[in-house]
Structures are given as C-alpha cells and as structure tokens.
Symmetry: C3
Subunit: 181 residues, 3 copies
Amino acid sequence: MNNLEQKIKELEQRVDLIETNQPDDKLSVVVFSGDLDKTLAAFIIATGASAMYDEVVMFFTFWGTAVLRDLKKKIKKEDIMAAMFGKMLPKGSSKLGLSKMHMAGIGTAMMKSLMKKKGVMSLEELMKIAGEAGVKIVICEMSMNLMGFKLEEMIDYPNLSLGGVAKFLQEAASSKVSLFI
Amino acid sequence: MNNLEQKIKELEQRVDLIETNQPDDKLSVVVFSGDLDKTLAAFIIATGASAMYDEVVMFFTFWGTAVLRDLKKKIKKEDIMAAMFGKMLPKGSSKLGLSKMHMAGIGTAMMKSLMKKKGVMSLEELMKIAGEAGVKIVICEMSMNLMGFKLEEMIDYPNLSLGGVAKFLQEAASSKVSLFI
Amino acid sequence: MNNLEQKIKELEQRVDLIETNQPDDKLSVVVFSGDLDKTLAAFIIATGASAMYDEVVMFFTFWGTAVLRDLKKKIKKEDIMAAMFGKMLPKGSSKLGLSKMHMAGIGTAMMKSLMKKKGVMSLEELMKIAGEAGVKIVICEMSMNLMGFKLEEMIDYPNLSLGGVAKFLQEAASSKVSLFI
C-alpha cells in the first residue's frame, strides 16, 4: 500500500514537470526583412494565429524595425550617420518595396493595386487588426540603436515594447511554433 | 483506497490531455520564396523528412506558388493585370532563378550544371520523389487569387490541395518542426 | 488492488513515452543565406541561446557555407567550375555583403562602421564567442561538394563537423525551437 502511494507520488511529480515544460499555445515570429511581401506574410500569419492560438508575439529586428516607423512623426537625429541611414530606409509600412519584382516601384504598385482589387487587406489594415486582436509587438533594442531609430518615431500600437534577443528566445522556448521571416 | 483510485484517475486525465497536446512527428514548411536555391532547400528538407518523420506538409504561398505552375498547361486569363503578372513570374520549376548570383541567368545555369555534374538531384526530380513519398502540398488560395493563377495550370502532383493560412497554422500547431523558407 | 497496480504500471509506461518524446532544451538553426545581416542575426540568436538553452546547433548550407571559409587558408582546386564559383563567392565572414542596401559595398561599410560605433559585436567576435560557448556548427556536405569547398579551407572552430540534411532533421525533431535563416 505504501508502495503504491509512493509510486503515485512519483508519477505526479513527473507529470507536474511535463506540464511545466509543455509549450504554450503561442506563436513567435521574427520579422527580420523589411520587404512588403514578407511583412504582409508575417502579419497574415500573425492575425490568423491570433484567432486560433492563445498568444502571438512578433519580434521586429534589423530592416523589420523600419516597418514600424510612423511617417507623420518627425524627430531630430543628432547622429549624422543615423540620420543618413534613417533617410535611406523606408519610412513606415506604406513605403516598403517587394523582395522581388519591385522594378523601381512599378511591381510594388501593381501588387498593391491587385491586392485592393482582389479584396486582400493592406499592410496597414492588417497591422490595425493585429493590434486589436492582441498580437504583441516587440522591437529589437539593438536594431533600433543601430539604425538610429527612437521609440517616439514608431507607430501607435496597443501592445508595443522594446526587447532584446533574450526576450525572443524566452518566448520561442515556450511557443508551439516559431518562425523567422 | 478510494483516495488512491481518485488520484490515479486524476493522473490519467492529466496524461490524456498531455498526449492529446503532443505534436505529431510532422514537418510543416512554408515555401514563400520562388527562388531556385530556396525551393531546392525546401524540397531537400521535405524529401529528407519524408523518410524520417510520419508526415510532411509544404505550404506554397506568394512567389512560391509560381514554382508549381506547369509549363505545358496553357489557360486563358480574362484579367489583364493577372495575365501580365502571370507573364512576368517564372512559369514553373525550370524557369526559377537563384536568390543570389543569378547574373542574368549565367549563375543559375552554372549552378544547374554543377548540380548535374555532382549528382545532386534537380528540382523536378526532387518534386517527383516528394510526391511519391507522400509529401503533401497545399497552395495558398489567397496567393493564387492575387497572382491570377488557376488550379488547372498547376503541376500534376499526387497530394495537392488549396488552403488558407488557417490550414498552415493548424498543421504547424501539431508539428514537431515548422520552417518558413 | 491488482487492478490499481496495473493502472499505475500503464500510467508509468505512458509517462515514460511522453518523457522520451519531449524535445530537448535546444535550438537548431539553418543558416542558408550568406548575407552579412542574416548571418549576424543567426549568430546573435545562437550566442544568446547558448546562455539560455542547453544546446545550440547551427547548420550551414548553400550560400551559408561561404561564411565559414578562412581567408588565410589557400587550397588548390582541380575542378575549374568549382574554382570559378569559389572565386565569385565571398571568402569568409569579412567579405559578406548586406541583403539590402549593400550599394556596391558602401551600405555594408556604413553598417559595419555603425556597429563598431554603437558597440555591437562584429560577426568575427560573435563567431568566436559562439565557439567558446559550445555552439555546434555542422556544414552541409552536399553544399560543400556543390560549391567545391573543402574542409581544409574552413575556419578553425572548436565544434565543427560535416553533415547532411538527415542530421539537421534529427536535431530539429528534438529541438524546442528550429529556425531557417
């Protein structure tokens, strides 16, 4: 009898540990590229997942950080090289180009026109829906620093924070699905 | 005694739930890029996984959908912009270029020649093997719609279907490994 | 009583199996691209993970293999096409370009200068730290063969080996997180 109780206790401890280590019903996405097409794919996956999974976290890093700049927010940059980089990079979602067939903007304009015609949501609409659906956005601090971007020039978004690679790795470790886009 | 039975019952329910939530021995791959090199990588991983995992599902989206067009199948497009887009995108696996060093086709031809010489399977051979090995292909409906592609112009493949982002997210949630290529 | 013992035994077997199938605290990364920015991202994630996870494995394939060439090691190539390919591809980490805004090397030089100024580690420093932290590197045998690279021309790295797609799929199947970069 004591023996059985002991065995059950051991099993309970093992099951406790398994439950603790189980991933959450969560999607983690790294948005590295600042291309229109890849960013669209990231937000289509993220908004889709917000309806099916418990939690969705998007990490914007490198070129991806430029996607989140707000065209209307103007800030002064002291650092000359950061100012130059900031000018060369697309200022926000409406200025992105396709990773292929951009063709000096013609291909990108064609794609946007096609999307409208076919009833596919624009990137701006997807970002709005993502915000409303509780999709979390974390912007890579190191990339912001590198590109010379400041939090004040980023879009207004319900659930936006700064974070590092450790934040991504922590979320990914407890996610069912992790993608690098 | 009752107490022990109760504890065992509770444990059984917890273990049931854990088993239900366990991922399948499955690989889900998003094939976003229509580049020769990345599509090759996707099929090398997919055919490799078909021998080691229980199930492999490939989701073709955006530029990736152009990979699956059949050069020999001709269909009339009513939509002018869709027809233009269709003409500009590579028609099938034999027309893809490298993501790097394409060099107006010279680099791509060199790579194909090198692959042949070194005994690396061509994309067409890999696709055939994937089909025979039971690798499932899902083509993104929204992308097909956007690019103006029709199911009738796609390759003959044993296990091909149309699907949306929800289908990918459902498969990924129950996959051991998910990749975005 | 016998009945309870039987039930406990069955539960133990089910929990054994669940534990066996649990992923390790491990990250698997495919480094496909030979771009400076993406390779930096891969090593920032890998070195970050080496401090948080039990194990990190990086698989270098296709263009990624060129990253690992050692500028100082010279070997003779018999195969003319392999020799040509070898000349055209970047020779090691210091010769990589950005995936965007490379601008004939100006953008890449600007980025490297910015990284230095902002105290972001260079790729070479990250690779050194990765090696010291026990991050494993596996180079894709097929890609080496295709590009005409030899193991003798690769960098000195504490934990470097050759492997195929099966090695990646095996590691990924037992990893918490798998990424394709």
